[in-house]
């Protein structure tokens, strides 16, 4: 989709003014890039230092004595309150929440999008409009009643509870994503299959799903980053046993008593960012495509 759209400039020597223009462009981009990279740099160097070195107060210096102690501690024995089990617990919980939430929300989004764009269901567009509007509304409006209902049905503070919550709040974006994608597919395919007598699920599975790979990739990228980075829903709905990594990270950093172990904190912060960062770096332009085509983010 992206392309070099600028008309190729005829090759001639640059004027004095143009040279300074180029220098200005690179200087601006370079300075801003440094600003954006600074936190990543500080986070990494801090995580490889010992606390003695951190107390020197040289936040930008490279570690004099390179150590991975902080990383080991963050992963295996960092404390949240009285429990000192490390971030690996939160990592495991996040994975347990992530996998079913992503799978279910994408499947539902695909079915919704397919039904909305190919089938005539009275009132479906009104429902869809409400769903979209819902995605703009702060979670705080829905949370309390949901907590009550979950408590009544016994899924409050459980894995199914948090998964259901992610499915609910992921539904607007997923439905929108698939609906828009399917609306761009040729309707003749669908009509031909209908004439051949194929039904709803047959058409979905044998014609629509095989064509869905590009949008499914976008959907996976969006849901993995969104669910992994979620804090609020995990905090409220996951329960003590299933707190996701983001919540555990915040507890490790902000509830320590005694001296704060900044190196452990930063190692823990990097560890928590690894999954979304990996998704981002590997997905490249697909990530941007997700942002642009989603246009709403839960």
């Amino acid at each position: 989709m992206m392309r070099q759209a600028k008309p190729a400039v005829a090759r001639r020597p640059l004027t004095y003014q143009e040279v300074w223009g180029r220098v200005g462009i690179y200087a601006f981009l370079g300075v801003v890039a440094l600003f954006f990279l600074l936190p990543l740099y500080v986070m990494l160097v801090t995580s490889f230092k010992s606390m003695d070195e951190i107390r020197l107060g040289l936040i930008f210096s490279l570690p004099q004595q390179f150590t991975i102690d902080a990383w080991v501690k963050a992963w295996t024995s960092a404390c949240t309150g009285l429990e000192c089990t490390g971030l690996r617990v939160g990592f495991g919980n996040s994975v347990k929440i992530l996998v079913p939430s992503v799978v279910v929300s994408i499947l539902l989004g695909a079915v919704n999008g397919y039904a909305l764009s190919f089938w005539k269901v009275k009132g479906a567009n009104v429902l869809f409009a409400c769903l979209l509007l819902g995605s703009f509304i702060p979670y705080q409006v829905f949370i309390y009643p949901l907590v009550r209902v979950y408590a009544q049905t016994g899924i409050y503070g459980s894995l199914p509870g948090i998964v259901l919550t992610h499915v609910i709040f992921g539904m607007p974006v997923m439905t929108l994503l698939f609906r828009n994608y399917y609306s761009g597919l040729p309707v003749e395919l669908f009509k031909a299959a209908r004439i051949d007598g194929a039904g709803f699920w047959k058409i979905f599975i044998s014609i629509i799903l095989p064509m869905s790979a590009p949008i499914a990739i976008v959907a996976v990228i969006m849901q993995v980053t969104a669910i992994w980075n979620d804090f609020l829903l995990g905090l409220v709905f996951a329960g003590r046993e299933n707190l996701p990594m983001t919540v555990q990270l915040n507890n490790i950093v902000n509830t320590t008593t005694g001296e704060r172990a900044y190196n452990v904190n930063m190692a823990a912060t990097v560890l928590t960012s690894l999954v979304p960062l990996a998704v981002y770096l590997l997905s490249g332009r697909w990530f941007v495509r997700g942002i642009a085509s989603g246009a709403v983010k839960g």
């Binding site: 500080v42 040289l58 936040i59 089938w119 703009f136 309390y144 929108l176 609020l232 990270l249 642009a292």
Partner: protein
């Protein structure tokens, strides 16, 4: 209508069934909870929900609560600077990257990576960098600038700017990515025509190109606005609303009153205020963005 409607339902029966989960989510999880929240805001509920009716009492109390008024004021300041800086910085980055620079994909990756990370992570990194005892302030003083002050996270008058800094770092890449995608879709003929007419490049951008990117601009502003209204994680991680109440935000006010202060009536009144605000701002945007263009089924 009768017989024909029955025939229509029969022909599309499975599609109706397939959309039941979406209908259930919209009716119960979005509309039902919303109505329940609004209903609770007219009751005297404290720790447990009550079914009485106290009129607008909770709203009167709410706008008499200094913490809520502080939260609203803080949100206004954050929203203004965040939107302004993200937008200007994002546009500048996109325009500069679009000048056939070398290392374009590297720059794009650097400017967007914070957006892939969680708000908790953004808050924690900047909390550490701005730490007055060991962060930038200490480092600069160590270099001999003994009067250097950068105490934003602990200074009640500056703490909002610390939050703005972290959120701008997190969000401006989004504007860059969307605007850049838009710039790539612009017809190169415009550049040739304006060059012949001798119009300076900055004027072309301001008066011709940016107005053409209206959909991209609206999308990015909508996404950023939602993230500001929902803002909770970054504040909890970075300052927890402090020092004092200097960085409280509405979403956090509601969460605190729901779960810690056991004041459900007040919390739901606050969430209703947020709901109404968001609906008033978003309804026209949603209408123009999604329904005028419309999909096939719309």
């Amino acid at each position: 209508m009768g017989a024909e409607f029955i025939r229509h339902v029969k022909r599309n029966f499975v599609a109706y069934i397939a959309l039941l989960p979406m209908a259930a989510v919209v009716i119960f999880a979005y509309l039902g909870t919303m109505a329940w929240s609004v209903r609770l805001s007219f009751s005297s509920s404290k720790l447990l929900p009550r079914n009485d009716f106290v009129g607008l009492n909770q709203y009167v109390t709410l706008f008499d609560t200094s913490r809520w008024l502080t939260s609203l004021g803080n949100l206004a300041v954050i929203a203004f600077f965040f939107l302004l800086i993200c937008f200007v910085l994002g546009c500048l980055l996109a325009i500069f990257i679009d000048q056939n620079v070398r290392g374009e994909s590297l720059f794009r990756t650097v400017f967007l990576y914070p957006y892939a990370m969680s708000f908790v992570v953004a808050g924690l990194i900047w909390q550490w960098i701005l730490n007055p005892d060991l962060g930038i302030q200490a480092t600069m003083r160590g270099f001999g600038f003994s009067g250097f002050v950068l105490d934003w996270v602990v200074n009640p008058r500056m703490v909002l700017y610390a939050v703005i800094l972290a959120t701008v770092w997190h969000g401006s890449g989004l504007v860059m990515a969307l605007i850049l995608a838009g710039l790539r879709g612009i017809d190169g003929e415009i550049w040739r025509a304006t060059r012949i007419d001798g119009i300076p490049a900055w004027r072309v951008y301001v008066s011709i190109v940016l107005p053409m990117l209206r959909p991209m601009i609206i999308t990015s502003l909508v996404l950023l606005s939602i993230s500001i209204v929902k803002m909770y994680d970054v504040v909890v991680a970075m300052t927890n609303g402090g020092p004092g109440t200097a960085s409280e935000v509405p979403a956090k006010f509601i969460m605190d009153n729901l779960f810690e202060r056991a004041n459900i009536g007040l919390a739901t009144a606050a969430s209703t205020v947020m709901l109404i605000t968001v609906l008033m701002v978003m309804a026209p945007v949603i209408y123009s963005q999604y329904f005028r263009k419309g999909g096939r089924a719309a």
